[in-house]
Subunit: 252 residues, 2 copies
């Protein structure tokens, strides 16, 4: 008997942002695999096996998950956020493409989740209220020149930009380079949001601008949103300041 | 005593894609407002008031929701998908900006949800596995020239594109115009997904290409995903064909 593999997104952190469909898949699993911090968010049920692994081991983890499913296990591979956005689902299909036999007879399913940009946006208003793009600034898997070109074209298109993986210990300077590219096209006063650890106890969200952004505060737990030319702030009745992008584009 | 306003995303359809946080906000509400088809997905609790309204009445609905909250009610404004993506959250902040007094003393909160592109992507694999953008093709609120420019630049940037509101009865031809613009830059063989009514009983998802896409099938319930040059199909062990975009960009 063959098993199945479900690739699940646990959202950015809080349990009440995990969809019931994802929770059900987790509850039904025989074996769960994932990056250690994501598995640590779950409590194993009696008999469940947890296999944690490191962040850079996506292909090994995918192959292992497929092998366990071929052995007849109900396997769940967990991601943070949504599994289809800079996460595990693509790694599984890459593994299957490289070795189609690895998925022979297995049922495969992807369960969507709340990706970081949606959670960050909700916390601060509606900055993604109009046309936007999502770019990973990690150059582990693509040339920096590709990232540069995309940033420049996205700025010209006047998209709101959600920047994933904006910095790491190995490359703290990339967010600064990205902001220099955007500043060549966009106003230095463009609204910028630094959303760190959204949904966690140490969550912090800062509204700043392209010219004043505290780049040194940016790390792998930060999601950066750069507004379009229409993105603006508004202060609400309770004194809180929100950021939103209007649904309409005004003709000059 | 002042009330509060929570803007909630119910996801694309199925109850098990609604976050527990959104369900809790709905359960706690005195009054719920929204576009009729979204409210019809909920069952009123004793004492709850439902106020349904038409699709084009976002600003009136926002003002009404704020007024009810100022009267001391716990108010929930429901969207499909995520409330911050081409939906109600931006309309509320537009209303507050136009009349800051409308939100005086009110607590405001946004609850994220699973937006249509994430659900459509999960059903068919991981087409949003790498850099992507989301564009609404509706020109009710922005000039068509802005949409054209964004499509062209997004194609040049080699983003995967998620196209919201790709067609309506009033403008059935816009998806065809969009595909002509994209085809000037992208290969006619580019993978395209037509995802209709995702999560509903009449869900249908078709994998096609830029040159062969059945444009006439596109309507307001369709979410269109246009692949990047790297987006590809892979056939899984169970015979199903999936679409994914690899996490890495190969250097030619």
């Amino acid at each position: 008997m063959s098993g199945d593999l479900t690739i699940v997104g646990l959202g950015p952190g809080p349990e009440d942002w995990v969809t019931p469909a994802a929770s059900q898949a987790v509850a039904d699993a025989d074996v769960l695999l994932g990056y250690t911090p994501y598995l640590e968010r779950l409590i194993p049920k009696p008999g469940q096996i947890f296999e944690a692994s490191d962040n850079r081991e996506e292909m090994v983890r995918s192959a292992r998950a497929l092998a366990l499913a071929r052995d007849g296990q109900r396997v769940v591979l967990v991601s943070g956020g949504d599994p289809g956005v800079f996460a595990m689902a693509a790694a599984v299909f890459e593994t299957i493409e490289a070795n189609p036999d690895s998925a022979r007879g297995i049922g495969v399913r992807v369960e969507p989740g709340v990706t970081a940009m949606l959670a960050a946006a909700a916390r601060i208003g509606a900055p993604l209220g109009h046309d936007f793009c999502a770019i990973s600034l990690s150059d582990n898997l693509k040339p920096w020149a590709t990232i540069e070109a995309r940033l420049r074209l996205a700025a010209e298109a006047d998209f709101v930009l959600a920047l994933y993986n904006p910095a790491s210990k190995a490359r703290p300077e990339q967010i600064g380079e990205a902001f220099r590219i955007l500043s060549a096209v966009r106003s230095p006063k463009t609204t910028v949001i630094f959303a760190r650890a959204v949904g966690r106890k140490d969550e912090s969200i800062e509204i700043t601008t392209l010219e004043a952004a505290p780049l040194a505060l940016c790390d792998m737990r930060t999601l950066v949103i750069v507004g379009s030319s229409a993105t603006r702030t508004v202060t609400c009745g309770d004194g809180r300041t929100w950021v939103y992008t209007p649904r309409s584009v005004r003709v000059e």
